[in-house]
Point group: C2
Chain length 641, copies 2
């Protein structure tokens, strides 16, 4: 194991190594060009063959055969994503979303009754939250669940077509129960969204009375996952089917909860389900790594044009623009890997902590999960596309894996939270930090200054705090004098962009609030692009801090330079606009990036090999054929010259 691999494998290296061993054997590997029926059949079968320990059971409580290892469960999912994304998503639905909701929202009786069968996949289930008419605004779901004290049952009902559950994994074919999210109504009053464990199919797989199940049919990708639609026509649900950890209904219909405020309660419930987003972010990076491995290795053998007068063989990886695509994407992938590692550690610590949940840490975790999910999934969409193009026509053939990686991961940018909405959430978290210090938005209008002190409080460092502070403090005063690879300077540039943009948004919101007091939508909408920039700047900083904390050897240092400088380069418009870069230094940044690419060029192959994806998992015909073919061609060319 190389030092690079050790760094990338991180704290759960043992889970990764175990998966590489346990899931060896090609029958787990993605199959290109399947029909939807073939894919569903194969994935339904494989899902029951997955190793339970430390795999799919990692996230469950010890008393039901689980590993009580939330971090390990995320990493196990990331490994599945390198085999087959349908398999990962199907597993994520079954054990992450469905099983996870029962664990997080259910009581002990419910745990005992269902978890053993959920873990072994004897009981397949759905997570029925999203509705056709409402994706992101889950607090406003339209499905109703009304308690009737006379019968001591709930009435679960879909009032109109926009309220039907949609895009639900496991619904079209395999799910026998569903965790259904709906508005809880009792005594004529609504208490907000809660969840019930509801049977939807009988033993023979037929929908139960009152339950209508539709099929979402063919999708862009993830053909092995049976997404569907579920409607309820006044379905009777027993009182004890309510997953009632956060809200209980007594037999006479009285509602009780440890959390008074409906909104707070709802978001507390949602907060317990944060793992799904962490898994999606990490899994999309797994796919990115597969794609980069394929493209970089192909680029080591593929030639494009003859290079007259050159002694050496020029391959496509030798081209600056090819490096600009693949090596830069690789540096960002490294950065995101370390940020994901820090996030998984944070998740693990929050979810294994004794005693009450630390609200501040929980909120911080949710914000980081949202931000990194958005950034990792967009990075995956972008990078897999770049890899496809880097492989030319070969990249378009299913046998070379890239089409599948692309089609399967595409949906990640909008599921488990639309990326744009998630970034707004991140920004709102930052704004809330301000508000907690200054009071409400109205209050901001009176506060004439923004205290450095407050800013420090909001922009908390997220990794290796003391190291980072030391690096930042060591930067001399004038930027022009600082080396372009000075880590403290990078950190300061990232922080600066975030702080300044946050200040700007707050100023504009205050101004807007003063002018358009009654038009809340417009106040926020006018600055929505600015709000998203703040969120991106924040995530960039979180990612850089994680990279800095893990850049423990020379190649990682260089990759960290490349990450930092390409982010600065991509935002040079902002830096120049705000006097943080002089024109001369902005040009020097570009020169330094090209210089780093030259230095890292010989390492490209090792940098992807460090992802340690088993050869059979890569499953791309061009990797099997290309080396032999190029040798033949080179020999031929020599003979005809």
């Amino acid at each position: 194991m190389t030092g690079l691999q050790e760094a990338l494998d991180g704290r759960w290296a043992h889970v990764r190594q175990e998966a590489r061993k346990q899931l060896a054997g090609s029958h787990f590997v993605a199959v290109p060009g399947e029909t939807i029926e073939q894919a569903r059949e194969r994935i339904s079968r494989l899902i029951t063959e997955l190793p339970v320990d430390p795999g799919v059971a990692a996230g469950f409580p010890k008393e039901y055969g689980g590993g009580a290892d939330p971090g390990g469960s995320v990493v196990a999912a990331e490994m599945l994503a390198q085999l087959d994304l349908s398999l990962m998503v199907k597993a994520g639905v079954q054990w992450g979303l469905f099983g996870g909701a029962v664990v997080a929202l259910g009581n002990e009786r419910q745990h005992a009754a269902y978890l053993p069968d959920i873990i072994t996949a004897r009981l397949m289930g759905c997570f029925a939250m999203t509705e056709t008419g409402h994706g992101s605004d889950v607090q406003q779901l339209r499905t109703l669940c009304t308690y009737d004290p006379a019968t001591e049952t709930f009435d679960l009902h879909t009032p109109h077509e926009a309220a039907r559950k949609d895009y639900i994994g496991n619904a079209a074919k395999d799910g026998r129960m569903a965790v259904v999210f709906a508005q809880l109504i009792t005594g004529g009053k609504s208490y907000g969204v809660h969840a019930w464990l509801v049977p939807i199919r009988d033993e023979d797989g037929n929908p139960l009375p009152g339950v209508t199940i539709g099929d979402d049919g063919h999708k862009a990708g993830l053909l092995g996952v049976d997404n569907g639609r579920i409607s309820f026509d006044h379905v009777t649900v027993p009182r004890d089917a309510l997953l009632d950890r956060y809200g209980q209904v007594s037999s006479d219909g009285a509602y009780t909860s440890s959390i008074e405020n409906d909104t707070r309660r709802f978001f507390t419930m949602l907060g317990t389900l944060v793992r799904g987003r962490v898994v999606v972010g990490g899994s999309s990076s797994s796919a990115t790594k597969s794609a980069l491995t394929i493209a970089v290795r192909y680029g080591e053998t593929r030639r494009q044009f003859g290079a007259p007068g050159e002694q050496r063989e020029i391959v496509v990886n030798d081209y600056l623009v090819h490096q600009r695509k693949l090596l830069v994407a690789l540096a960002h992938t490294y950065a995101l890997t370390f940020a994901q590692e820090e996030l998984v550690i944070a998740l693990h610590e929050v979810q294994t902590a004794d005693g009450a949940v630390d609200e501040h840490r929980q909120r911080e975790l949710e914000s980081r999960a949202a931000g990194l999910k958005a950034v990792q999934t967009w990075h995956a969409t972008h990078t897999i596309q770049v890899c496809r193009e880097a492989c030319g026509g070969a990249g378009y053939l299913a046998e070379n894996r890239l089409p599948g990686l692309k089609a399967d991961t595409d949906v990640f940018t909008t599921f488990e939270g639309d990326n744009t909405v998630l970034l707004q959430l991140v920004a709102k978290g930052l704004l809330t930090g301000y508000r907690d210090a200054f009071g409400s938005l109205d209050g901001w209008g009176r506060a004439a200054f923004v205290a450095e002190q407050v800013r420090e409080m909001v922009l908390e460092r997220t990794a290796a705090r003391s190291l980072i502070q030391r690096l930042v403090d060591a930067v001399p005063g004038r930027d022009e004098e600082v080396a372009l690879t000075d880590r403290g300077w990078h950190l300061r540039m990232f922080e600066d962009r975030e702080k300044h943009q946050l200040d700007g948004v707050i100023r504009r919101l205050r101004r807007g609030a003063a002018q358009k007091r009654d038009r809340q939508f417009d106040i926020f909408n006018d600055v929505q692009d600015h709000v998203l920039s703040v969120a991106k700047a924040h995530v960039d900083r979180v990612v850089l801090e994680a990279f800095v904390a893990h850049a423990t050897e020379p190649r990682l240092e260089k990759m960290c330079d490349l990450y930092a400088l390409t982010v600065i380069e991509a935002n040079k418009g902002w830096y120049l606009e705000h006097g943080r870069l002089t024109p001369a230094r902005a040009k020097a940044v570009t020169g330094k990036v090209n210089d780093l690419l030259k230095q890292l060029r010989p390492e490209m192959r090792e940098l992807v090999d460090a992802f340690a994806i088993p050869e059979e998992w890569l499953n791309a015909a061009i990797l099997r054929e290309e080396e032999g073919r190029q040798e033949t061609m080179a020999a031929h060319d020599l003979s005809v010259r």
Copy 2:
């Protein structure tokens, strides 16, 4: 017909209208979720049912039943692309590439013998240029075709696996002949790449002796096109199978050609085939328009979050960030439509001109075709992805068309020329303009200045020349005083970026040549990113000039403002770096863009309706369902409040 539609439909409006009428009827429309066998079967059938006039025959000579209307043939293909991209590509292979090569490279006897059957699709054929080992460097193809005066035949041979023809449309299933590109060897000497018309299958569809045909199998998209691989094992080809317009071999093996230089002859032959790139660029924009129509219309009905305190209904199109995605993409699509129109006119005029080809115009046409193909196909890939995400989960379902549009167009960024390679071609064209004035690259080392005069010659205006000159001349001296919507200022900003970057590249190439005289690869590779920036700047200008020429009414003026200002905004780093924007003005640009979005928001629906895509061609379930559903939901919400 609205004024917008009239402007977009352009000079070949009659061809578009005819297609909308002739291709009505849902059996031409793309079918989501087909297996590869179903798709191939359907497309093979439909290809024989396409209207010949003014459709598939438009590009052929009148004497064989064609329309002698090269421009019309491009527009007819663009229309097919709105129905089904597999159908468009299959038609493009048959009539554009295969038939087009016979027209352009063949002699009259060959025209008479084959064109009638090609036009009616009785004779299906392939265009066998690309090889597994060489995509872009077609001058270095490895297939050999050697003349033997003893038998008066050629020997066509694939010397090794990397030389097999690959990704060839019509090869896996339907093609009976192929235009095969190979190195012509006679009398022991190679004369470069030529083309032969070679039978590959017998009447029963079996490969002929010596011909090995493979199947490229499942692809990311375009399942209806049967791409395959062809190898030749010393296949005997009669002497008169050579498409010999540009080079002839006499029975005794003597080679003659009207073009002495092998390279020049080869690029002249390639140049006659320019239409393929024009079709791919235009067709990718057709797909972009379908995607935008779907996303904008869905965004008019889809709600995301409740907007407390608002009287009006807030739909996703009301969000600034949604407008930043869709409206900006829409403005760029308009811009590219007009640029494509100008390109098609240029193509039409060159290809219908009497007498000898004007070399300068031909070169200009090839360069513009390359640049617009690259920019349009990348814009399609980007925009269709944005539209998919803008539709959330619904965008991922095959029934809503976007997955098909995305998967089918993906390959366009690398076929008919890899986009990166094409942009290099554009840049080399600009550099050649310099060289023609200054002499060779070596000569540049001596030339100490860059004359304005030369620059003017290189940076020729591409549309509405006198109007544009007037606008540029009317801009007052100091930028800060000019309105942000001043068209002359936009034009000057675009020109400036192109000129200055071109100067910069030349300066760096000269310096490189002086320092590394013997290392040609490094000299160019060191500035490759800069070279691509020049090409992008050039294409941006060409596109703006076309938009200016066509912006004949107020909404088009605003869309042109939006196009120009978002390009300036995207490049503000460069403008600030080079003192072309002050920080204050750079910020004002962003403000103005947001302002334009607000002004154009109410027009979104009309702006996509002007593409005039027949409702049945759009073929997206969400458009059929969404309106009714939203009405039900709104009514319900009112009743529960």
